[in-house]
């Protein structure tokens, strides 16, 4: 009686299932993405050519990677506002330390990764042990990091790093049959996404989600919360580092590279149906959220919408998308959950009020000093 019915389903049922998934909050982002892509192709059929499309993927890669990193932090119940500054810092580091000396590429790359990990570690430790809400901790990091980098470089980097290094973000494997070029960025994105999916399926990844869902339960189950939390910040900083490596190739060095990436990433993740406050969401959907955002911009470019309108359209779309998920989810939850969840609540008088079925409004900014926070500071 435990095991799900696994008889083979008919194609019709599968299709119906797919439809249901697409209109569910979890799948909505894929629907949105599909609509946007179709709209782009209608406006500009050449976009559908593999060669063109792969360029699009290449361009989205850094944003998608940052969104994937942010996903881990958000699903674990926190925020990382320092990602944009990390991207900028890494771009500048690459420019200044590699310079035109290609042989430095590897050591500097290692240094960048180490630096990224360090930033994440600091974020994580501040959040876990000083119990500063992650919103504030990473906001401070964002200011300090950007200021520090600009101070170090006098505002402008020496110049672009060697072409060999930039090849990662700019070049690709040429001579591929249909695509003509397979950009390295796409490969990196694929690897990162695969790693992220793998990661979310690993014990650690599941623990992150459980921690975001209910930190008390996670602690009572023996989770080393501080480390799991810190690890998510390290992951996000590392993903920002990778995005930085791609961007320094794709775009070159400039202090404005990476600006606003934290908000873009959070928007993408939320578009992907990941719940701010943690515990819910799928990393692929977060990446799809990034693709949707970029597709939206591309669509606006193709449609000749003045660039001043783009922000307005973006704002409207994210509100609508999130409102849609929230409303659908509530409806679903109300419809399905009432019987069982009530039956279980022996000790929750407060949850049994007249309109107690309604879950609290979407989680407020998750912040560490929750009542359920570790008081002893981990093992």
């Amino acid at each position: 009686m435990t095991v799900a019915a696994t008889e083979t389903r008919s194609a019709g049922q599968r299709l119906a299932e797919l439809g249901r998934v697409l209109v569910s909050p979890r799948g909505a982002v894929f629907l949105l993405l599909a609509v946007l892509l179709v709209a782009i192709v209608v406006l500009n059929p050449s976009f559908a050519e593999p060669g063109q499309f792969i360029r699009f993927v290449q361009r989205v890669a850094p944003v998608a990677i940052v969104a994937i990193g942010q996903y881990f932090v958000i699903v674990g119940g926190e925020f990382d506002l320092s990602m944009g500054s990390v991207v900028t810092a890494q771009v500048v580091i690459a420019g200044n330390l590699i310079g035109q000396d290609e042989s430095r590429s590897l050591p500097v790359l290692a240094l960048m990764l180490a630096f990224g990990a360090l930033v994440g570690l600091v974020n994580g430790l501040i959040v876990s042990f000083l119990r500063v809400p992650s919103f504030i901790a990473t906001l401070g990091m964002m200011l300090a990091l950007l200021g520090g980098v600009l101070y170090w470089t006098g505002g402008a980097a020496t110049g672009n790093p060697a072409d060999g290094f930039r090849e990662i973000g700019r070049g690709g494997i040429r001579g591929i049959p249909v695509l003509e070029i397979l950009p390295w960025s796409v490969v990196v994105l694929a690897v990162v996404l695969a790693a992220a999916i793998w990661f979310t399926k690993r014990p650690f990844g599941r623990t992150v989600i459980a921690l975001g869902d209910n930190p008390v339960t996670a602690r009572y189950s023996g989770t080393r919360s501080w480390w799991v939390k810190t690890a998510t910040f390290i992951i996000s900083s590392l993903s920002a580092t990778i995005a930085g490596v791609l961007l320094v190739g794709y775009a070159g060095v400039h202090p404005s590279v990476g600006r606003g990436y934290e908000f873009t990433a959070i928007t993408a993740v939320v578009l992907g149906g990941v719940v701010l406050g943690g515990g819910r969401g799928w990393v692929v959907a977060a990446a799809a959220g990034a693709f949707s955002l970029e597709a939206l911009f591309t669509l606006l470019n193709f449609a000749g919408v003045p660039s001043t309108y783009r922000d307005a359209v973006q704002g409207a779309i994210i509100i609508l998308a999130v409102a849609y998920s929230a409303t659908v989810f509530r409806a679903r939850r109300r419809g399905r959950a009432t019987p069982t969840s009530q039956a279980s609540g022996a000790s929750d008088a407060s949850a049994e009020g007249p309109d107690a079925t309604a879950p609290a409004r979407p989680a407020p900014i998750p912040s560490t000093p929750r009542a359920d926070n570790e008081t002893k500071g981990g093992s």
Binding site: A156, N160, H254
Partner: protein
């Protein structure tokens, strides 16, 4: 009791409506700057920062006095490479003048791109700065007018440079010819090389900044008249953004020319053409080293308009002249000459070790720290 600050008085100039600002094109200014482009500047040879165009001098005898003076500098920001380069130059100039005993010290407040902060900065200088001269690089034109007026009301000399204000109370207003000249130079260059109906992508940094808006206002008008199909985008100077825009434009169709209102990110624009495997466009950038180097490397047909960075030297020198009682131009229009293909090698050689964010016409070759200070980009 309730006191109105004595230094505060209504300023007549500020009262004029600024609504026309919404449309940045100004025919009179356009014509003036168009003409100034062809004027041979007066002043010492080889020292463009002391040259002037069509100057109308003002007498400064009232300010003449002995001894080293304290300068107070209200800076808009150093948030972009152009301002950073200029700021370094200005500090080197300061050292020279301190050495010479003309300036005792310069106190600087940086408004970090905020009008409100800069107004407070100016007020602080008025009240607390113990300043002998105010040097102001306004963050925006209309907003800074009342504050500059208050600085003038102290009776101390006020020097405004880069962006202007809507009052003529400062002793001198120092600036290169201006945005319209930039727009004319660049648009004419592109129009010369392109055919009617060709597409130009205009990459702009921000909306609402007058020096930048005027560049586009002039260029757009000329493109329009020449039948060039120009589309403009705001990029925030983010090269990634620029690359995406160009890629999308290339996906839509051919792009024959690229116009920029500032050279930041020019390299990304060029690379977008390389990545797409299409021919280089005709292009205007700026005298930023990154563009000059890429220009040289690709051999594209380009022009580097200049928003003379050496103007950062002039204010302190003007202060020295004012305290010496020498006449200075009321409106000190500095030369603004684009770098053309023929001069490219010369400027590249001159600035060989400079970082990418350096500006070729920074004009600090004779200053003490040259070249180390600019190469290391030490921001004071």
């Amino acid at each position: 009791g309730c006191t109105t600050d004595p230094s505060v008085a209504p300023s007549e100039e500020a009262a004029e409506p600024t609504e026309e600002a919404i449309d940045w094109f100004d025919q009179a200014l356009f014509d003036k700057q168009d003409a100034e482009r062809d004027v041979v500047p007066e002043g010492p040879d080889g020292q463009p920062w002391l040259q002037y165009i069509n100057a109308e001098f003002v007498d400064t005898a009232q300010y003449a006095s002995e001894g080293a003076k304290k300068a107070c500098f209200a800076n808009a920001s150093i948030s972009n490479p152009w301002r950073q380069t200029g700021w370094i130059t200005m500090n080197e100039q300061l050292k020279v003048l301190q050495e010479a005993g003309a300036i005792s010290e310069m106190e600087t407040r940086d408004a970090q791109d905020s009008d409100d902060t800069q107004i407070a900065d100016i007020d602080y200088f008025i009240n607390e700065g113990d300043c002998d001269v105010f040097i102001i690089s306004p963050n925006s034109t209309a907003a800074m007018t009342p504050a500059v007026q208050r600085a003038c009301d102290t009776g101390k000399p006020v020097i405004v440079f880069d962006r202007g204000v809507q009052t003529d109370c400062p002793v001198t207003f120092i600036h290169p010819i201006g945005g319209f000249a930039w727009g004319i130079d660049t648009a004419e260059f592109l129009i010369d090389r392109l055919d009617e109906g060709d597409k130009v992508v205009a990459l702009r940094i921000l909306p609402g900044v007058d020096v930048l808006e005027q560049r586009w206002a002039a260029a757009e008008k000329l493109f329009d008249e020449a039948g060039i199909d120009a589309v403009d985008y705001f990029t925030g100077a983010d090269p990634a953004e620029i690359k995406k825009i160009i890629s999308d434009e290339l996906a839509k169709g051919d792009v024959a020319g690229v116009w920029m209102d500032a050279g930041d990110g020019a390299v990304a624009a060029i690379e977008a053409f390389e990545d797409a495997g299409v021919d280089y466009p005709v292009m205007t950038g700026e005298d930023e080293m990154s563009f000059l180097r890429k220009w040289k490397e690709t051999g594209l047909d380009g022009l580097a308009p200049v928003y003379s960075n050496f103007q950062w030297r002039t204010p302190l020198l003007a202060a020295q002249m004012i305290f010496a009682g020498q006449q200075v131009p009321k409106e000190w229009v500095l030369p603004q000459v684009p770098i053309e293909a023929g001069e490219l090698d010369q400027y590249l050689a001159l600035n060989e070790n400079m970082p990418d964010g350096h500006y070729a016409k920074f004009g600090g070759e004779d200053l003490p720290g040259y070249p180390q200070v600019w190469e290391d980009r030490i921001i004071p």
